[in-house]
Each structure stands twice: as structure tokens, then as C-alpha cells.
């Protein structure tokens, strides 16, 4: 084990231990319980391990669940059991939370689309109208990337699009700035495109977890999401498209292509086997059912199980495909949910919020602070880990802030925070798509930093504009603001 990793582990463990050992009255919260102090230590543990990353981020998530079970649940180690506890079944349920199942449905569609080359074939059809002028080809590639990343993982989408693009970029002159522009356009489009649906990127799913009626009325125990799949897309897709076009113009301005002709080839033919048709029809049907809302009685999390069932039963997804799915991404979210659950069920979140005088704060200031914090954190660490830490706290804060109506209420605050995570794309380490594009070797650090930061800041401003607009239109009024 390298020294760096040992040092990071020690720092993280030490920080958590200090929080655990301090006398209960040092935190300024009246009546802090043993459980609450342990949850606080767990939060510090998670924060340090996710920021410093001495172990993979999903491993930290798993540790959260295990530590909760061992030291905080009603079935914890007998001699260390706190007086009040979390329910162990509820802790374990986080592995199969409905939101996790929603994401699993997305995985199944993505895996089947790649396996039956639906992504490549669809890409060819979608790109065709954009012709051969490099400017338009870039916009076409960005739109295709964004559309795919709404339903597939941002990483897999970027990999697929770069694989198609690499031979083309190798054939154009090395001094043509188009190379840099194109290599940046794909990861940026994937990051931005992920905003489009609740399953586009893990932070969105984490947000769905906290967008429950509990957000508006802390006494409520209803767990169904406030916003349906279709409602999310209704505001997220237009926002995403506007930002996408702005990013395109920015990249064209910064890296003006010299070549006057460019052809991108998505090679292959539509598969016509029975299983391929199962993939086409099931994917289309699932997405349609998601968009239709809830008149059919099925929630979006239930609809997500349709591709899971159909693809397993028809052999579209076999046991090998199942093994190759990114289960670690699901576990990463599960741990976050378990942390959020512990914060809320232990009463710590409420106790913390009550100890801070929010009533006197302007909602605008809180919104700006939360957004900037998320944006900065997500630039340096995993977007999912960032939302795992920030969203449960923001969800509690939102219920306690009386002035929040000024900016559109708790729903607006939570959504803004979630979008901010996806806007963080300044460095290669900010997102896996950025890292991959950087690894092609065509991009300089400063090219990415400059264009990524400008895109992010424009996105933030646009987000403010959109919230104002939605509020004026009375969109948030349905959610009690």
C-alpha cells in the first residue's frame, strides 16, 4: 500500500474518531443522542473517504451500510448498541430501493442497446440530417451524445461516440483546432445530456429519492417521488438543449474548424433477429410508459422493471451481461441513501437545522451558496458522492427554510443543487467522460479547464433563469411553493 493511501486513510479515520469521542455538548445541539453522534461521525467518515478516496468510492458506500448495521441498528453488536436505533431491515432495504431499481432499468436498456448495436444504428440515423460540414456535424454528434446519455450511462455513451469519432479525428490535419473542439464536445454533451432524465446520471436518481412529499411536510411518510419521469423531462430537456447549443457555439468559437468537410461513419446494419426486435420494442415501450406519467397506474420505478423482466426472460441479457453491469454504481447510491436515511431517521438532520438560525437568511443567498458548494465539490470528486453528501442535508434544510418560497420552494432548491453537480466539468478528474476524452491525448488541460468552466458557469446562470421562469409560470405552485 503506498504511503499516500495510508496517510489518507488515517486522516479520514481520525476525523471520524474525533467526532465520535468529543463530549456530546460540544456540538451546540441540545439533547444530542448517542445515535445522533454516531451518525455525525459516520457522515464525517463518508465525507473524508469520498473526498480523499483511499478506497474506491463504492467501497465507502458499502462501509456506510455495514457500519450502520453493526453500530447503529436494532440488531447491532449487543454491547455497543445505542439506546435508540435504526431499523436493520430499513438499512438493508437501501440496496433494493425503488430508485435503485429505476436505475437498474436504465442499465438494462443501455446494455441491451449496446449488445444489439441499437446505439450505433440509431446514431447513424440521427446524424444523417447534419450533413458533412464540420460545424453541423459537431452539433449532430453533440445532440446524439446527449440523447443517448439521457438513457445510457454518460461513460458508456462517451466511449461509444469517441470510438466512432477517433478514426475521423486521426484523418484530419493535426494543426486543425477542430480536433480539440470535437474531442471536448463529446464529454461535455454527455455531462449535459445526463441532466435530461431522472436516470440520466446518478445525482438525478439521488434527487428523486429526496423529492418526496416529506420534503414539503416533514410529517408525511409517503415515499413516491413528487415528480414523475415525464415531468422531470418537461423542464430538464429544454434546459439541457439550450445549454447544449450554447456549448456548441462556445466550442466553435474557441476551436474554429479549418477543414470544410467531414464524414462520421457509424458502421453496421440494423439487426433483424427476433431478440433485436424485442430490444427495439421493449426500449421504446418503456420510454413511452415513462413519458406518459401515471395514468396507467404504474410509477416510473415499476415501469423500469419491465425491461428487466423482458430482457432476462427472452435471453437478451444473459448471465454474463448481468455480471458486467456496473453494480458498483448502484451500491454507491445505496450507501448514499443509507446515509441520508440515518441522518433523517436519527433526527440529526432536524436537530442540526434547528440549531442554525435559518429564518433570518435570504433564500437567494442559501440557494447560491448551496449551488456553488455543489459545483466546486463535484469538480474535484465524484458527482454521485457529492450528491450523496449534499442532497440529504439540503432536503432537510429545504423543509426548515421559511423564506424559500421566494425562489420556488424546496423542489426548486433540490433540483438546482442536482443540476449543479452535472455542470461540474472543469478538469479531467471531474467526470469519467472528461477523463476519457483527456486520455485521447488531443486535449490540453487548459483547453478543458477554460471551456469546461465557461460551460459550467453559463449553465449555472441559465439554471437561475430557468428557475425564475418556472416560478413565474407557477410550475412550483403544485409543490406547495
Amino acid at each position: 500500500m503506498p504511503v499516500g493511501r495510508i496517510v489518507k486513510t488515517v486522516i479520514a479515520l481520525l476525523a471520524a474518531a474525533i467526532v465520535l469521542m468529543l463530549p456530546a455538548d460540544t456540538f451546540g445541539i441540545v439533547g444530542l443522542t448517542v445515535l445522533q453522534q454516531r451518525v455525525m461521525a459516520l457522515f464525517v467518515f463518508a465525507m473524508f473517504f469520498w473526498v480523499l478516496e483511499p478506497i474506491p468510492i463504492f467501497a465507502t458506500s458499502v462501509m456506510i451500510i455495514v457500519l450502520e448495521l453493526l453500530f447503529m441498528s436494532n440488531k447491532s453488536i449487543k454491547w455497543l448498541k445505542p439506546p435508540d436505533t435504526l431499523h436493520y431491515e430499513a438499512v438493508m432495504h437501501n440496496f433494493a430501493d425503488p430508485i435503485i431499481m429505476l436505475f437498474l432499468g436504465g442499465f438494462f436498456i443501455g446494455a441491451a442497446a449496446t449488445k444489439y448495436r441499437m446505439d450505433i444504428n440509431l446514431g447513424r440515423v440521427l446524424l444523417k440530417p447534419f450533413g458533412t460540414n464540420p460545424k453541423w456535424v459537431m452539433l449532430g454528434m453533440m445532440i446524439v451524445t446527449a440523447i443517448f446519455s439521457m438513457f445510457m450511462s454518460n461513460t458508456a455513451t462517451t466511449a461509444m461516440m469517441l470510438a466512432v469519432l477517433m478514426p475521423v479525428l486521426r484523418s484530419i490535419a493535426p494543426e486543425d483546432p477542430a480536433r480539440v473542439g470535437f474531442a471536448l464536445s463529446i464529454p461535455f454533451a454527455a455531462n449535459v445530456g445526463g441532466i435530461g432524465t431522472p436516470i440520466g446520471t446518478p445525482p438525478n436518481a439521488v434527487a428523486m429519492k429526496y423529492l418526496t412529499p416529506q420534503l414539503l411536510d416533514s410529517a408525511s411518510t409517503v415515499k413516491t417521488p413528487l415528480i414523475t419521469f415525464g415531468q422531470w423531462m418537461l423542464f430538464a430537456v429544454p434546459y439541457m438543449l439550450v445549454l447544449l447549443v450554447i456549448t456548441w457555439l462556445l466550442l466553435l468559437f474557441m476551436f474554429k474548424p479549418k477543414a470544410d468537410k467531414m464524414t462520421v461513419n457509424f458502421e453496421g446494419k440494423w439487426l433483424r433477429s427476433g431478440r433485436a426486435w424485442v430490444v427495439y420494442v421493449t426500449s421504446a415501450l418503456t420510454i413511452l410508459l415513462w413519458l406518459l406519467g401515471s395514468f396507467h397506474g404504474m410509477s416510473s420505478t415499476v415501469v423500469a422493471m419491465i425491461p428487466v423482466g423482458v430482457f432476462c426472460a427472452t435471453g437478451v441479457i444473459d448471465s454474463n451481461d448481468l455480471k458486467q453491469m456496473s453494480w458498483e454504481v448502484l451500491w454507491l447510491m445505496s450507501g448514499g441513501f443509507a446515509l441520508g436515511m440515518a441522518l433523517q431517521d436519527s433526527g440529526l438532520a432536524n436537530a442540526l437545522v434547528n440549531s442554525i438560525p435559518f429564518a433570518s437568511m435570504s433564500a437567494m443567498v442559501v440557494l447560491a451558496l448551496v449551488c456553488i458548494l455543489t459545483f466546486v465539490m463535484a469538480n474535484f470528486m465524484s458527482h454521485t458522492a457529492t450528491s450523496n453528501l449534499i442532497l440529504p442535508v439540503v432536503a432537510t434544510l429545504a423543509t426548515a427554510l421559511p423564506t424559500l418560497g421566494d425562489v420556488g420552494g424546496p423542489v426548486a432548491l433540490l433540483l438546482a443543487c442536482t443540476f449543479c453537480a452535472s455542470l461540474s466539468m472543469t478538469f479531467p478528474i471531474s467526470t469519467p467522460p472528461n477523463a476519457m476524452a483527456y486520455a485521447t491525448g488531443w486535449i490540453e488541460n487548459r483547453d478543458m479547464a477554460k471551456s469546461g468552466l465557461i460551460t459550467g458557469v453559463i449553465g449555472l446562470l441559465l439554471l437561475g433563469g430557468m428557475l425564475m421562469m418556472l416560478k413565474t409560470m407557477g410550475y412550483f405552485a403544485t409543490f406547495g411553493a
Binding site: M1, P2, P56, F58, F107, G110, A111, T114, M152, S153, N154, T155, A156, T158, A159, M160, L162, A163, M166, T201, P202, Q324, M325, S326, E328, V329, L332, S382, H383, T384, P428, I429, P432, A435, M436, Y438, A439, T440, G441
Partner: protein, 163 residues
């Protein structure tokens, strides 16, 4: 965990020196280890493996005193503990038969003829170690992005997914 190892096996010191020079750009993420015979190489491998050091790639000459390169690589190929280790045969003197055995029994991943082009060899080695990283260290692939072959990375990530 210590840096993954690239093991170079050749009975000629000059060849080992040349390899060390050509693969120098990889030393930021991999350690280069030398062995002057197949027997020495096996000792070194046992030792490294027991210490938990990942073996990413073995580059071996064929014609050496004692055990030949192809025999050595076949021995490695038969052991499951080196299942993910990539194997490159670097030789100018292998007969047709040796080559057939190198493929069928040694399961080599690449055959490079001596004398080699430094740039080409480095590119080949990058490809092989990228494949190894995705097989053996999937959670840490981003740590190696500086020395990875982008095509391999894109290809592997396409199949693997992620957030």
C-alpha cells in the same frame, strides 16, 4: 499496493538496457524488472507474486541459454495466477515451429521481431498494459490514464459502463 511490474527477460545485457530506455516513459506507473534467464525470471516472478505485486506484462526473448523463451512463456500461460498477465515474445531467431508453439502453448499476446522500432514497441506495450489494467485493476484505471492506450480504454469502457 506497489506499482505493477513489466518483466523483461533477455540473456543480453545490452538488450535489457535498450528495453529499459525505450520503456522509460512508463516508469511513472509501472516498475521495470530485469532477468537474464528464464530460471531467474521464474524466481523473480514467484517472489513478486508472493509479495502481492501485480505482474502486468512479461517481455521475453526466445533464444537463451537454459530454458527457452517459448518454454518459459508456456509455463507461465499454464498457471492461473498469471492468467491476466500479458505476454510479448521479442525475438529475431524463432523458427516457424517455435512461433507455432508460442501461439498455441504460450498464448502470447504479441510477437515483435528484433530489431524493434522503439516507438512501435512502446505503443504495443501501452496497448497490452491497458488491457491488463482493465482486467486486473478495474477500479483504478483512471490512475493509469497517463500511460494508457486511448483506443483500448474507449473500447473497454464501452462494454463496461459506469456512472
Amino acid at each position: 499496493m506497489s506499482k505493477p511490474v513489466i518483466l523483461c527477460v533477455d540473456d543480453q545485457r545490452e538488450v535489457l538496457a535498450a528495453l529499459t530506455k525505450d520503456l522509460e516513459p512508463l516508469t511513472s506507473h509501472f516498475s521495470l524488472v530485469d532477468a537474464e534467464s528464464a530460471d531467474e525470471a521464474i524466481d523473480v516472478l514467484d517472489d513478486l507474486e508472493a509479495g502481492g505485486t501485480p505482474i502486468a506484462l512479461i517481455i521475453s526473448d526466445h533464444v537463451m541459454p537454459g530454458v527457452s523463451g517459448v518454454d518459459f512463456l508456456s509455463k507461465i500461460a499454464a498457471q492461473s495466477r498469471f492468467a491476466k498477465t500479458r505476454k510479448l515474445l521479442l525475438t529475431g531467431l524463432a523458427t516457424h515451429e517455435d512461433t507455432i508453439r508460442a501461439i498455441n502453448e504460450g498464448h502470447i499476446d504479441n510477437y515483435t521481431a528484433k530489431p524493434w522500432q522503439p516507438g512501435t514497441l512502446l505503443a504495443t506495450v501501452k496497448k497490452l498494459i491497458s488491457e491488463y489494467v482493465f482486467d486486473a485493476l478495474p477500479d483504478a484505471y483512471l490512475d493509469y490514464k497517463g500511460v494508457m492506450d486511448p483506443d483500448v480504454m474507449i473500447n473497454r469502457l464501452q462494454r463496461r459502463g459506469g456512472p
